[in-house]
């Protein structure tokens, strides 16, 4: 690809690399954030959903008369009412072997998972709306629920008659001489893994406010979405609202983690309700709804085998990844992306494995749809690859570092069997660095000494390579569809201050600070003079979504391209005013300076003022527009890499696992802000510890979700946050702004494998090897007791 918007100007790192405090923190940490529930529109109504109590059933009757008659209830809609406007949301993954589904806004005729919206009650308050929901009477005629993905794919009843054989996705590839690799293997290491069903569990649940003005046909929709421009597109595509009169607004958002990167029925229903009722309508999801319906994540059953030669080098891999997809594809990511990525992308990882047999499949089941959650596809894939590496280390009696060094890729660029090209990386250095940080020999000595006292500690290692900066090139490299680009606007005011608008929303990652650092280095202005607006409204810019570890790379590229236009004008003006060659001008510390001529400078403020108010200072043919909007989409896929080593202790009286310490190595190229990168590592790793030790959405045999409150769905709290030692490697990308790479997902991608490996190491004297997460205390206790 050689589009101009793939070229990013060079930049001198000055503010980039500094531990700049996050500008949002004083506001957010003192309770001054304005989240969706804080927004109150005059005359607003409140929506609440009647949700299916059955996993799979025919709706024989929906009785809404009593609810409609309740004082304060304004409207009750069922599936028929919604279907007049929209048949449903169509979802699929653009890969071979994917079959689409249509998710109705409100279920009609059949419900397919517990929690599926069946009716919506709109009332003067949320309390009355819930009272109204209690009065809606739905009769269900039970159908057999489909609950196990692998047996669902073998036949039997359908979870969703659009997919009669329950196959939502099925495909794969054989690359290289897999049979030869396994036939000639000195050893084959294999296992079946189960990666549990998770909720992304953002601190702020979902929510929507819709407001419609019939006089102008103007629709405003507030939603804490990671993809507001996509939502806006859907308002037109699915509902027919005129695109030019739609605005999607994104207030402060308390975490998304991928869950808020979908289009949901609730987001499509509220605009219709607001228009038909001629009043603003608000819905704030409660925690029970969030756990029950706001997409589940990561659950897969995975068979994987590695062939090793007699030197313990991996020579081939076979994988079959089966997703437990839920009842529908949740657009745009679908139930396909999880097993597809696990099978097609992750089995080779950082290793030079020439042959691969890759099978992906997703089964429709009568459960909540699976969606994206941080590290989608990568987490389970890294879990099985890295856990099997540790299994192999034990089989070959090698250290976990040595076994990885036997197969790790050492030469770049490197093309894996799937055809993906990795331009650079510090894959070997990561392993070496982790070994040094852990002090492996000392650890083994301590482990042996503690075992003699009846205490059991273990060390687990997990290394990864992560696709980052999700882009058109990334999609193409993986045979995935998807065209991406994002814009940024940079505007300098007469007094030299700068307003930056990016097309990416922020959910607490500190984008406003990191983007200000990029602009500061481009324009030479102090951070205090820069305000960054992060897609607060679709009125500004275009964004493809805050997903796929793309914020820093993509927004950074767009911001740098836009600010470079301003920079070029400031340089031209300064050269004219200072009678110097533009090539000799640099912008630094608030001034344009002539390189090599000390004392020859003009302040940025004076330059900006001159642009607006002093034509005499302008060079010939000067265009005074101090505002630029440009797009960015990197020319090539970007990959970051790293690894974690963890030390855990298992308690012999309870089987409880405690993470004693985490060692992290991260290589995301040029680090814009080490504090923010380290925060991303800590947060992601702790989510990974939760996934490995605590979190599990549980369905019973009738398809009822058992874990509907945080009393039962255990998320990691502060006492599950271990001490960290973090080491940065910096292998810059050669084709992103300043060499930046993305890293938002890396913690969760690789941490669960490190936990599982550490527990298995702690249990290595027992002969038990665990292959499922979350690891339950009961499994550990059983292992310890033989």
């Amino acid at each position: 690809m050689s589009f101009p918007h793939s070229q990013s100007p060079s930049i001198a790192a000055r503010s980039i690399g500094a531990r700049v405090p996050r500008g949002d923190d004083p506001r957010l940490l003192t309770g001054r954030g304005q989240y969706l529930a804080d927004i109150v529109l005059p005359g607003e109504l409140h929506a609440c959903f009647v949700r299916s109590s059955a996993a799979h059933a025919r709706i024989t009757r929906v009785s809404i008369d009593e609810a409609r008659a309740l004082d304060g209830v304004v409207a009750v809609w069922t599936g028929e009412d919604a279907a007049k406007f929209c048949e449903g949301i169509v979802g699929e993954l653009e890969v071979e072997g994917c079959f689409a589904t249509t998710m109705p806004l409100l279920a009609r005729d059949i419900v397919r998972y517990v929690g599926e919206p069946v009716a919506v009650v709109v009332a003067e308050s949320r309390y009355v709306a819930e009272d109204g929901c209690d009065l809606v009477d739905v009769d269900y005629e039970p159908l057999e629920p489909v609950l196990h993905p692998r047996s669902a794919l073998e036949g039997g009843p359908s979870a969703n008659e659009e997919l009669p054989d329950n196959v939502a996705l099925r495909g794969g590839k054989v690359l290289g001489d897999v049979e030869g690799a396994f036939n000639n293997a000195a050893r084959v290491i294999e296992a079946t893994f189960h990666s549990g069903r998770l909720s992304a569990g953002p601190m702020e649940t979902r929510g929507v406010i819709a407001s419609y003005d019939w006089t102008s046909r103007r629709l405003r929709l507030w939603t804490g979405s990671q993809m507001p421009h996509y939502i806006k597109y859907c308002l037109t595509a699915y509902l027919g609202f005129p695109e030019n009169e739609c605005e999607v607004l994104t207030p402060d958002t308390g975490g998304g983690f991928g869950q808020k990167a979908h289009i949901f029925p609730e987001e499509m229903l509220l605009p219709l309700l607001a228009r038909e009722l001629d009043r603003p309508v608000k819905w704030v999801e409660d925690r029970r709804e969030n756990l029950m319906t706001a997409t589940h994540a990561h659950e897969q059953f995975i068979d994987i085998a590695y062939a090793f030669d007699s030197d313990a080098r991996a020579t081939g891999v076979r994988i079959r990844a089966t997703g437990d997809g839920g009842a529908y594809h949740q657009p745009p990511w679908s139930m396909g992306v999880e097993p597809w990525c696990t099978a097609m992308v992750t089995p080779t990882g950082v290793y030079d494995i020439p042959a691969a047999d890759l099978i992906y499949e997703a089964a429709a089941t009568n459960k909540t749809p699976i969606g994206a959650y941080r590290g989608v596809g990568y987490m389970a894939g890294t879990l099985v690859r890295e856990c099997l590496m540790d299994d192999a280390a034990r089989a070959f009696e090698l250290s976990p570092f040595d076994i990885r060094r036997r197969s790790v890729v050492r030469e770049f660029p490197w093309t894996n069997p799937q055809g993906i090209v990795y331009d650079e990386g510090s894959w070997l250095q990561t392993i070496d660095e982790l070994e040094r940080m852990v002090d492996y020999t000392a650890f083994r000595e301590r482990q042996a000494a503690l075992r003699a006292e009846g205490r059991f500690i273990g060390l687990g290692l997990s290394v990864f390579v992560e696709s980052s900066g999700e882009s058109t090139a990334m999609g193409k490299a993986h045979d995935l569809g998807g065209i991406y680009h994002d814009t940024a606007t940079v505007k300098m005011e007469p007094n030299g201050s700068v307003t930056v608008t990016i097309g990416l929303t922020t959910q607490g990652q500190g984008h406003r600070t990191t983007m200000a650092q990029v602009v500061a280095d481009s324009l030479g202005v102090p951070l205090e003079a820069i305000t960054v607006r992060a897609a607060e409204s679709t009125t500004y810019g275009w964004g493809s979504g805050t997903v796929g570890s793309r914020g820093a790379v993509i927004a950074g590229g767009a911001v740098l391209r836009a600010s470079n236009v301003i920079r070029t004008k400031l340089v031209a003006l300064a050269a004219s005013m200072l009678e110097a060659d533009p090539a000799d001008i640099d912008l630094v510390d608030g001034a344009a300076v002539v390189l090599g001529v000390p004392g020859s400078s003009v302040s940025i403020i004076d330059l900006a003022t001159a642009v607006y108010f002093d034509q005499s200072a302008w060079p010939a043919d000067f265009d005074p527009t101090l505002e630029a909007t440009l797009a960015y989409d990197p020319a090539r896929p970007i990959f970051s890499n790293g690894g974690h080593a963890m030390i855990v202790e298992v308690a012999p009286d309870t089987g409880f696992v405690t993470v004693e310490k985490v060692f992290s190595v991260e290589d995301c190229g040029t680090v814009i802000n080490p504090d923010i990168v380290e925060g991303q590592i800590r947060g992601g790793v702790v989510q990974g510890i939760g996934a490995a030790l605590l979190e599990r959405l549980v369905y019973d045999d009738s398809g009822q979700l058992v874990t509907t409150t945080l009393l039962d769905y255990h998320m990691p709290s502060m006492d599950f946050s271990p001490p960290f030692e973090i080491h940065h490697l910096e292998t810059p990308s050669s084709h992103t702004p300043g060499g930046i790479k993305g890293m938002g997902e890396s913690g969760l991608i690789a941490a669960p494998a490190a936990v599982l490996n550490a527990v298995n190491d702690a249990l290595s004297h027992t002969g038990t090897v665990l292959h499922n997460i979350p690891i339950t205390p009961e499994q550990v206790l059983r292992a310890l007791r033989g």
Partner: protein
Amino acid sequence: MKSPVFAYAAPNTVAEACSLLANDEDAKLLAGGQSLVPLLALRLAAPTTLVDLRLVPALTGITYDQGVLRLGAMTTHRAIERSPLVQDVAPAIAEAAALIAHPQVRTRGTIGGAVAHADAAAEWPAVLLALGGHVEVTGTTGSRSISASDLFMGPFMTSLEPDEVITSVSLPIDGREIWVDEHQRRHGDYGLSILAMTYQLSDGFLTDVRLAVAGATGSVTRAPEAEAALEGRAPADSSDAITALAAELSYTSDIHGSADYRRDITTTLFQRALRAAGERSGQA
């Protein structure tokens, strides 16, 4: 997650509270609300009237007199945890209070509320049973005292009459050793197993042993066979009691642990208590 409609009353006296209860059979007392309010939000409870006890001055206060620690029903867990008096006369009780949930919950939740709620995974019912305590209650027809063994009838069930209010909780603090401990997966979680044990130590032998288990069983319960198996034995001589405790109780199974697992970790909790008893007997 919004509660259904209810009437709210905040009387100033116990008598008023009793008559509010007597006049509305679906009324419910609010004594801190750390269990009831979530139940309301989930619409798992729908009382017609909430009778809030927070303005009844007679229900607070901690006293110690003649070997009895008396805790007003509206005394918060946090107040018990931090009370210099409790820390002085019965430090194990202050430590037991600190096992309950998180500081935020302890600051609002009350001992009377917890005892009346009778959650199978609550600490106070086990403590009350192990100490042989009792509650003072007042109804429209007068006051009475109910011993712990007569109070807890099953999960979320007590022998309180509908119009009765617990006014205080009394714990005998008479020189017997007290041990309260539990296994929580995360700090502040409901205990997977809670064990409270009281006993006398004389010449290194256990007597007058009372053992109560919660969290691991369907409701808070004594373990009489294990108690009997310890009687007159040294703490180290406990294998019969350990076997008895594993066999005599009906352990519960749920997503957080099977019955077998709960039996195993209740055993390890018991062993911890016995080790502590052994250390105490060594010191004595």
